[in-house]
Amino acid sequence: MSPFFIITAVVTLLGAAFAMSLRNLVHCALAMAVAFSGIAALYLQLDAQFVGFAEILVYVGAIAILIVFAILLTRSGEAPEKSVLTSGWMAGIAVSAMVFTMLGWAVLNSSAIPKGTPPAPVATVKNVGDALMTKFVLPLEIIGLVLTAAMIGAVIIALKEEKK
């Protein structure tokens, strides 16, 4: 493990933890933006340039901003006085750690996954684009259709109802 990986991993995990536990919702959203940037840095470290930059463009540039916008437009008021975590958070961590151990053990001992490190695949931005436009063009179109439908639905919900 390189020091760069350790630093980005720690920053990502801290960002995610703060996003869950801070009292002020805007702080949570900004912490989540930190976590997204950390994930993007991890992708870039793996030479996945397309995914890394798309992560920054979409998640930091659009989704974090959208969440912040929604927070500011819907609720005003001060942060809650007491902690936002419920009292059973220790039990929650214990359960999730057990599930993680179980899944990790199952994955590591599975016969379906080849042992050893596979050779690094060549995935340049050009290859990703070619694959999206040839082999995976149908899934891409379907995703576009679903997103368009969601957008039309959002517009219809936001439309003013005509008074009769």
């Binding site: 940037s37 930059f53 920054i56 463009l57 930091v60 540039g61 901003i65 931005v125 050009k126």
Partner: protein, 269 residues
């Protein structure tokens, strides 16, 4: 003149540009000031709206060149027919793309007529009201650097980067070409600031969503047609007609329900 030859150069630029919104919001929100927050909210709304036509107008270039690599894009424009360069500006889709890109880059760098986020007369400089001295200088330096960077990208995409427009001037060094193009467009930016008044918020949003976005989408279609038609005068005619028709229809749609009569003041008279 390239420092690094990066395969995903265009994507890198837009990813970095997309992260600007977060920093503007953090500056405005953390000031704990009504006007700063208003400025930050305006900035987010404006930047998110104009980022879409900005990226879509650059997509046409990527479609025609077939690469996200910025030096590949310049190389593609570095050919001459009858002594005139193959700049993307000199094609129907490229002209529309460049104009859309130019307007969207004015909005992305918060320049007049899109300076609503920092409107001095309305919200006292918006998101950096509370910042003075060195921090203020950093904001302004960042803003102007962003402006130069986005102009440089526009030159690379549409104006042939460091190449000469006519073949008999190719002896002039590339850095002089690039810098003179950069300075010319910066001049236009400052010229526009001295000429046009600020838009209203509803005009800003209507223009982005009802005019620029549809025109950018139609422009992508036109670039596809341009790529697949034979290289003769017919594709010039077809592409120009589609673009002109779309421009006329969208412009009329934008002008509907607008009353351009004498302004009536309710309280001032």
């Amino acid at each position: 003149m390239t420092i690094t030859d990066y395969d995903a150069g265009l994507l890198f630029f837009f990813a970095v540009g997309g992260a600007v919104e977060v920093s503007v919001f953090m500056a405005g929100w953390s000031s704990r000031n009504k006007y700063s927050l208003l400025g930050a909210m305006r900035a987010i709304a404006q930047m998110v709206s104009y980022e879409i036509p900005l990226i879509l107008s650059a997509v046409t270039v990527v479609m025609v060149v077939g690469s996200l690599n910025l030096s590949e894009i310049v190389k593609h424009q570095n050919n001459y027919t009858f002594g005139i360069a193959h700049w993307h500006l000199f094609t129907p889709w490229g002209l529309v793309g460049f104009i859309l890109f130019f307007i969207a880059s004015l909005a992305e760098s918060n320049r007049t007529p899109f300076d609503l986020p920092e409107a001095e007369s309305e919200i006292i400089a918006g998101y950096f009201t509370e910042y003075s001295g060195f921090k203020f200088a950093l904001f302004f330096l960042g803003e102007y650097l962003g402006m130069f960077a986005i102009i440089g990208l526009g030159i690379t995409l549409f104006l042939g980067g460091w190449t000469s427009p006519v073949s008999f001037l190719t002896w002039i060094p590339s850095y002089i070409w690039f810098l003179s193009k950069l300075m010319a467009i910066v001049f236009v930016f400052i010229w526009i600031r001295g000429t046009l008044p600020r838009l209203r918020m509803d005009q800003l949003m209507n223009f982005a969503w009802k005019f620029m976005l549809p025109l950018a989408l139609i422009n992508i279609l036109v670039a596809g047609i341009w790529h697949y038609m034979a290289a003769d005068w017919q594709r010039w005619l077809v592409c120009s007609l589609i673009i002109f028709g779309a421009y006329a229809i969208l412009g009329r749609g934008l002008m509907q329900n607008q009353n351009f009569g004498k302004r009536i003041y309710r309280y001032a008279e």
